[in-house]
Amino acid sequence: MLIIKPKKEFEVCIEAELTPELAMKSVEEVRKFKVYYGNRVVELGELFEVVKEGEDKKLVLDGDFGRVKWIGTRMIDGEIVVKGNVGANCGAFMRGGRIVVEGNADDWLGIEMAGGEIIVKGNARNLVGCAYYGNAVGMTGGKIVIEGNAGNYIGEKMNGGEIVIKGNAGDFVGTEMRAGVIEIHGSCGFVGGDMRGGEIRIKGNFDLLPTFRKTEKGWVGDVNVKGEGVIKTF
């Protein structure tokens, strides 16, 4: 297990593609790991304290990582625990393993995630599990659980996997969704625009679009794309 702690408050955001693979390296190697501090490439050790405890494939990010982006990008196994907030693009293109964020997560959590699990104990911002700019398919597998609230544009173009929001979600949930499940325990705005398939379950209130047909399965649509997605309450 590797414990990484910020040494100071950062002047600008940092981009650090930290994955559990790092826990397999020596502390010396980890300190030399390249991160981007604005337009400067610096060694991880310059900005963060690094402590190694045991051989688990696990990172503990101890402190506020709310301005550190791309944590857990493309990770395939192991575990990351973020003790505070986490910056944008966390868990992007993730294929396996587990990320636990004890604070809040910034935008683009779990971009096009294909497997593994992300748990956010606080709130998540926008674009959870979506397809990246210009890409056709969002999340295809794995599970994202937000225990607090989530922002707008959750699960766009989702084609598998599961997103659970324990609190409220914002607007435009599951737009152009094709498969997979989104479950919202609170309320949300527009749901399922141009949805082709998959299921969205909502406990609270939501804004129904005028393009879904009421059936015994729930609301089925979006008729504009001859969709067979299902929106239902629970």
Partner: protein, 418 residues
């Protein structure tokens, strides 16, 4: 002088007449006339409010930019392509962020275009062919006063000869000045553009049965009527404005409208186009697109361009305190950004290049005055429909152009960076 080109709004009217003696422009609207009227200027370059030479101000600007970990280079909508190009290359060299005014204006349209493309036309096509024009969340009578007479409402075209042969429809949350002269006004509940567009798509594609009796404050009958008009148009045009891009749904509204236009084109002809604001906000996106691949919200911190409005749009950069210096060219973010974004701007060194004093001048450490394109300097600009025009130099000036100032900055940065 004839054929003077206006450098105010995205309509870029090019039929002005300038009277050199009276220093006045004829034919232009209130906005254009104000553009060509004499007004207060930044008198000289300044550092911390003290007048200095151009060279001294540029030296100071370079020092700030080169030392920054992430300089934000923002603005660009009211300058010429020649200056923008140097600005983009400067951002690339500095490893900074390039963003432009569209990001608080029409950039959601770019996001929509990424999803669905943009089926559009030049304004000349609309003038000649459009028998139905819809202004959706746009209000040309206030924002683009001559758009209607030159291109869209009463323009005299080849096939559609005049106002009588053209149906004008306004969709808005309030009865705007444009709504008053329209043949049909559809007043909608704020935030329901997306739902209404979805309903129109359903009606047009034969699924009217699922559409409830009222959508977004509009009775179904009215939506059916609108859908019929759209289907029967020979050549229709939707001009959307900030009412769509700046409210709930933003890019998703436009994406949906583009899908509506795609559908309509299966049976007749429709186009859709944004009512771009500043005279060269289109250039501020087109130039970086060919130079570095993207229109706005571009980060160069890794030595190449990356695009992510969620991270690299000026407002997001400022809200996250993710820049430690800013170069503001031909824009006034202090007046036009949300308070929380302005707060960070006040805390970092700001360099401003602009002909006119504005709110950003009040917080800038380095202020560099520049010549006004279209009056004191020549350059290329793109009208809202991407038609290029070369704006003219009418009057002599001692002010440097944005292009020259930026070139001097770039030269010095290249020397320092190697």
């Amino acid at each position: 002088m004839q054929d003077i080109i206006c450098t105010f709004c995205g309509s870029v009217c090019d039929d002005g007449e300038y009277d050199l003696e009276k220093r006045k422009v004829k034919k232009f609207c209130k906005l254009g006339s104000s553009k060509f009227a004499e007004k207060e200027r930044i008198k000289a370059p300044m550092i911390d409010g003290k007048e200095v030479s151009y060279e001294e101000a540029i030296e100071k600007a370079v020092e700030i930019l080169v030392n920054a970990k992430k300089p934000l280079l923002y603005g660009w909508a009211s300058t010429a392509n020649e200056a923008i190009r140097v600005g983009v290359i400067l951002a690339e060299k500095l490893g900074g962020v390039y963003d432009q005014c569209a990001s608080v204006c029409h950039a959601p349209g770019t996001l929509a275009m990424i999803e669905e493309g943009l089926p559009g036309a030049t304004l000349g096509s609309v003038k000649n062919r459009a028998d139905v024009v819809i202004f959706w969340g746009s209000n040309p009578m206030e924002a683009h006063p001559r758009h209607g007479t030159r291109y869209s409402i009463s323009a005299k075209g080849l096939l559609v000869k005049d106002r009588k042969q053209r149906k004008i429809i306004v969709v808005d949350v309030r009865p705007t000045k444009t709504a008053k002269i329209a043949d049909m006004f559809v007043q909608i509940k704020p935030g329901y553009d997306y739902a209404i567009i979805s309903a129109l798509r359903a009606i047009i594609s034969g699924n009217a049965d699922v559409v409830p009796n009222e959508v977004g404050g509009v009775p179904k009958e009215k939506l059916v009527e609108l859908a019929e008009i759209m289907k029967k148009a020979k050549y229709g045009a939707i001009f959307y404005g900030l009412g769509v891009t700046q409210s709930r749904g933003r890019d998703r509204n436009i994406e949906n409208a583009i899908k509506l236009v795609q559908l309509l084109n299966r049976t007749t002809r429709w186009v859709i186009w944004p009512m771009r604001g500043h005279y060269n906000v289109v250039g501020a996106g087109e130039v970086p697109a060919w130079e570095v691949g993207y229109q706005y919200a571009i980060d160069f911190s890794r030595g190449y361009a990356r695009f992510s409005p969620a991270e690299f749009s000026a407002v997001e950069v400022l809200l996250r305190k993710d820049c430690d210096a800013a170069l503001i060219v031909a824009s006034d973010p202090v007046a036009h950004f949300p308070k929380m974004a302005v707060k960070h701007l006040k805390q970092i060194p700001v360099i401003q290049i602009d002909p006119f004093p504005n709110m950003t001048t009040l917080i800038a450490k380095v202020v560099i005055p520049s010549a006004v394109y279209g009056i004191e300097a020549e350059g290329t600009v793109y009208r809202m429909d991407c038609v290029p025009l070369r704006v003219k130099k009418i009057l002599e000036t001692n002010y440097w152009t944005d292009e020259k100032i930026l070139e001097e900055i770039l030269k010095r940065v290249e020397k320092l960076r190697g």
